[in-house]
Symmetry: C2
Subunit: 151 residues, 2 copies
């Protein structure tokens, strides 16, 4: 192994800081991580919604690319919800950990519907079919937000 590269890798971790000095730090990091995952999902989902609402021109390639990204991102949400990770920056309700199985099932549904949307898009499904599946994904977002997110 090239020692220079190895040192650089060590430096990267110091820069990017995914090691926690305390339980509080771990919670702050988990909140920042999951908010980032949601942000990236929203960035990609927004144009898909715009396309199915015909507010922006339909671009099948961008749609399929964004849907694929969402399908990869959706399963990344859960690990950001480490036990009792509520901070000032968080909008999570404590019910998440009191009713974890229900919350996890909601996230699984997001993953499942996102995978369906990606499959449809990659197969070149027509816009109405994509619109219906975008709605199904949106339902899974709304379901968890209504139950588990503070106003």
């Amino acid at each position: 192994m090239n020692p220079t590269r190895n040192l650089l890798a060590i430096g990267m971790v110091a820069l990017m800081g995914n090691t926690s000095a305390s339980a509080d730090d771990a919670k702050e990091e988990a909140v920042e991580y999951r908010k980032s995952v949601y942000e990236v999902i929203a960035w990609n989902f927004g144009p898909m919604v715009g396309m199915v609402k015909q507010e922006i021109p339909f671009d099948a390639e961008v749609f399929a690319r964004n849907a694929k990204r969402m399908a990869v991102m959706a399963p990344m949400v859960a690990e950001g919800f480490i036990p009792d990770s509520i901070t000032d920056d968080s909008t999570a309700k404590p019910e998440i950990w009191e009713r974890w199985d229900e919350f996890q099932a909601g996230l699984d549904k997001l993953t499942e519907e996102s995978a369906k949307l990606s499959a449809l898009a990659s197969q070149g499904a027509p816009l109405p079919a994509l619109g219906q599946q975008v709605g199904a994904v949106g339902q899974t977002c709304k379901g968890c937000h209504d139950e588990f997110r503070k106003e």
Copy 2:
């Protein structure tokens, strides 16, 4: 198309806000997006570095999963750098847009090296080979940070 679902989808976009009222809003959103992409990349890269440094136990499955995520995330960075998108929350230098081709080449290198890491990990490469490629990815991070990120 199911109109109830369609309405929900409309609501989701309003909630998640990927439509911009102004150029300033667009810049704020772009900065938030790209910082989120970096955050998610760092969250996944950190444990890989920990494993190749043997600070945490090697888990081939987690390593391959995280490497695949990085390979999907790396090509997502560039679109967050819309022209002159520097805000109070940004650490980007104006040189990015003055030397865009060089910056883009750096991002392409990140994508390329991340794809190689994912390929190695999915093929079950041994830890030293993974360590070398983690170093190569870290080099691409460092290269751009040194040139294009404020201290």
